[in-house]
Symmetry: C2
Subunit: 405 residues, 2 copies
C-alpha cells in the first residue's frame, strides 16, 4: 500500500503525443518509485482535465514489465489534453492538490504545456503552497527553446526520413512529381528531416519548403520546372505550416477559399493536420501550370499525417533513451530540492554525439517557440544546409541502407 | 565477360512497386548467375519500355553486397512501367529478343503484368521462337489468383497494421473520430489488415469498409454514431476503392463532383492514390451530420498513400523471404525446362505456418483479380472476421507489442 504521509505526485501528459512521450512518463515513474520520500504516484487521465476531475491512475503498483511495454508504446498512455488552464481552472487544480497532499507535479508536453505548468506553479507560490513543478519536454516539432532538441523529434524525423527514402525510390521507379506534406505548424524542423536519408545528389527530396520562408506559388512552380527539366522527376517536402507573403497559412487560406470552417484549438492555433487539402491544392496547381501534356505528367501528393508522431515499432533508439532520461532527471531534480523547472538536453562539444541534461527555467521554455535558424536553410529558401544535416543526423539513431542499380 | 553463346535473359519489373519486389529480382538473378546455361542477364529499365528501347543494365557482374542492399530496398530498382504491350509493341520486343538471343524472359508484377507476359509468350510460340517466359508475382493488393497470397502484401499489411496500432493509441489519447484511407482499388485485403494489431475489443479500427461491400454514406453515419456513442471515439479503416450502390468509385464520383479530371492509366484504371480527397470528404460528411457540437467533435482523416508500399526499413521478414524465394523458383523452373508460368505460394496444411512454391499457368494469373471472400467480411459489412485474421497474421511476420495504463 502507498504511504499517504509522504508527498504525493501528480504526473500528466499534454498536447500532441509522440512516439516516446511514454518513455518520459516511465522514466519519471521508475525514479520516483525508487525513492522513500514519495507517496502516491497519481497519473492524471487526459492531463489537467483529469486533475480537476480527480481521474487518476495509480502508478505505484504497475508491474515493471507492463511499464516497459508502455514505455515502448507511441502516444500518451495516460491520455492527453489540449486544455489551457485559466485562473478558475487552476483554482480547481489546487483544491485537488491540497485535498490529496500533492507536492510534486510533473507535466510532459510542449511549450503550451510548459506555460500551463508555469501558471500552476505561480499560483502555488502565491498561495504559499509548497509544490514542486517540473515540465518534461516533448514535441515532434522540435521547437522548444533552451534544449538542443526535443524528445519526440528524433523518432518523428526517423519516420519522415525513412518515408522520403522509400518514396524517392518509388518515384524514381515511376517518375513524376511527388509532393509530401509534413507536420509542423510554425517550424520546419520535421520537414527538413526529409533529407536525412539522401545518399546521392540525384536523391530526393529535391525541394524543401518550410514555414520560416514565405511561400510563393510562382517560385514553387519555377523551382519544380527546373528540377523536373533536369532530372525528369521531382520529389518535394512541404511543411503543412507554410505561409504566404502576408504571413497567412497556405492551408488556412486554401480551406477558407474552399468554404471550409477552420478549426482552432483552445490556444487559438488553427488545425492543419488531418486533411489532404494542401497537398491536393499544390498538385492541382502544378498540373494546371507545368505546361507538360497531362498524359505524360504524373503528379501525386501524400500527406504523412498522424503516422509521423504515432507509428508503432519504429522509434529512434537515441530518442527513446533520451526521452526516458528526461523523465528520470525531472524526477531527480524535483526530489533533490529544485522547486520548479524544465529539463533541457545539452549537446556536448565532443567528436562523437554526446549529451548532458540540465535544468531550464519554466519561463524560458513556455510560450515562445524556436524556428529553424537561417544557417539551416539554403540561400534560395528551398532546401536545407549541411549544418542542418550534421545537427539532425545523430538524433534519428540510424537509417536503412538502400541499394540502387 | 559474359558468354554470348548461351541463352540470354531479360528481367523486368512492372506496375506499382512493393517493399520486396527487389527481393524477387535478386532471387532470380542470384539463381541464374549460379547456372552454366545462362549467358547475359539483362535488366530492363522501366519494364517493357526498357526492352523496346534496349535500355538494359548488366546484372551478371553486380557484386553480391550491392545486390543484397538492392534486395532490401523498397520499390523497383530497375524502374517500373504501366505500359501494356499491344501487337506492335510486342513485335518490337521480339526484334530486341532475337537480336540479343534472349531465351528467358522474367517479368515481376501483378495481374496486368502476368497478362503482358502471356501476350509476349503467345507471340513467341506463334513465331516458333523458343522463349521461356515466367511471371513472378508481386502486389500489395494481394489480389492475384491461384497463389495463397502475393509477395509485397505482407510488408504493406505490416505497415498498415502498425500505423493503425499507433494511430489508435493516438486517437485514444485525444479522442474523436479518425478516418484512415488505405490503398486497394478493387480488393480490400490491405484495408482489412488494419485490424491485425488489435489486442482488445476496444482497440481500433472499430469499422472497416472494403470495395467488396457497396458503401452507403447513411449506413456509414449510423455505424460511426453507434461506436462513438459507446466508446467516445471511433477509428475507421476505409479502402480508397470503396464503391457506391451503383458500383461507382466513391473517390471518382467525388472528384468528378468537385470538377477534377480523373486520371486513368493505360489499362483504363482510374487513379485513386496520391490524393486526400476521399478522407476529407468523409470527414466533412461526418462533421456535418453527426449532430454533435463541432467544438467538441474532433474528426481527422489521414490517407496513408504511397508509404504503404514504399516505406524503407520496415518490411515483413516473412514477406522478404518469400519474395526472394519466388524469384529463385521462377529462375529454377525456367532452367529446368518449363516453357512458361507463374510462381504461386501454396500454404501447407500444418499447425505452424509453412508454405511451398508451385508453378501456375500464366492464363490463370492474368487479368482477373481475387477479391476478399465473403467469409472474411462480417455480416454487417463493416468489419472482418477471425478467419481473415488467422489467414493474414502469419504474413506480417510479427507486430510491435504495446502497453496500456
Amino acid at each position: 500500500m502507498s504511504d499517504f504521509s509522504k508527498g504525493n505526485v501528480v504526473i500528466g501528459q499534454s498536447g500532441g503525443p509522440t512516439a516516446v512521450i511514454n518513455q518520459s512518463l516511465v522514466g519519471a515513474v521508475e525514479t520516483l518509485r525508487d525513492s522513500d520520500t514519495i507517496g502516491r504516484i497519481m497519473g492524471a487521465r487526459h492531463g489537467v482535465a483529469g486533475i480537476v476531475a480527480e481521474n487518476f491512475v495509480d502508478l505505484n503498483d504497475v508491474d515493471a514489465d507492463r511499464l516497459e511495454a508502455v514505455a515502448n508504446t507511441p502516444a500518451a498512455a495516460l491520455g492527453s489534453s489540449r486544455d489551457k488552464p485559466d485562473e478558475v481552472y487552476c483554482r480547481k487544480i489546487f483544491d485537488v492538490f491540497k485535498k490529496n497532499d500533492v507536492r510534486y507535479f510533473f507535466y510532459i508536453g510542449g511549450n503550451d504545456s510548459a506555460d500551463a505548468a508555469r501558471i500552476v506553479n505561480e499560483m502555488a507560490s502565491a498561495s504559499d503552497y509548497e509544490l514542486r513543478t517540473f515540465h518534461i519536454p516533448k514535441t515532434i516539432d522540435n521547437d522548444l527553446r533552451v534544449t538542443d532538441h526535443c524528445p519526440g523529434y528524433g523518432s518523428a524525423a526517423k519516420f519522415v526520413a525513412s518515408a522520403f527514402m522509400g518514396d524517392d525510390r518509388d518515384s524514381a521507379a515511376l517518375p513524376g512529381i511527388k509532393i509530401n506534406v509534413v507536420m509542423g505548424r510554425d517550424a520546419g524542423w520535421l520537414t527538413a528531416a526529409g533529407v536525412l536519408g539522401r545518399s546521392d545528389p540525384a536523391d530526393g527530396p529535391h525541394l524543401v519548403y518550410v514555414p520560416e520562408v514565405p511561400f510563393s506559388t510562382e517560385q514553387f512552380l519555377a523551382d519544380v520546372k527546373e528540377i523536373y527539366g533536369r532530372l525528369g522527376r521531382c520529389q518535394i517536402a512541404v511543411s503543412e505550416g507554410i505561409k504566404d507573403m502576408t504571413g497567412t497559412s497556405v492551408t488556412v487560406a486554401l480551406a477558407e477559399a474552399l468554404g471550409h470552417r477552420v478549426e482552432r484549438d483552445s490556444h487559438g492555433n488553427p488545425q492543419l493536420s488531418g486533411s489532404g487539402a494542401l497537398g491536393d491544392f499544390l498538385a492541382d496547381y502544378l498540373k494546371a501550370n507545368m505546361k507538360v501534356p497531362l498524359e505524360t505528367l504524373r503528379v501525386r501528393a501524400d500527406t504523412f499525417g498522424y503516422l509521423q508522431r504515432s507509428f508503432a515499432g519504429y522509434a529512434s533508439e537515441v530518442d527513446r533513451r533520451e526521452a526516458r532520461e528526461c523523465g528520470r532527471r525531472a524526477a531527480a531534480l524535483a526530489m533533490s530540492g529544485d522547486l520548479d523547472g524544465s529539463v533541457a538536453i545539452k549537446r556536448l562539444d565532443s567528436s562523437e554525439y554526446e549529451v548532458d541534461y540540465v535544468r531550464a527555467e519554466l519561463s524560458d521554455v513556455a510560450r515562445v517557440t524556436k524556428s529553424l535558424p537561417k544557417e539551416y536553410i539554403n540561400d534560395r529558401g528551398n532546401g536545407v544546409t549541411e549544418e542542418f544535416i550534421s545537427y539532425a543526423t545523430p538524433l534519428v539513431g540510424g537509417l536503412p541502407v538502400l541499394g540502387k542499380l
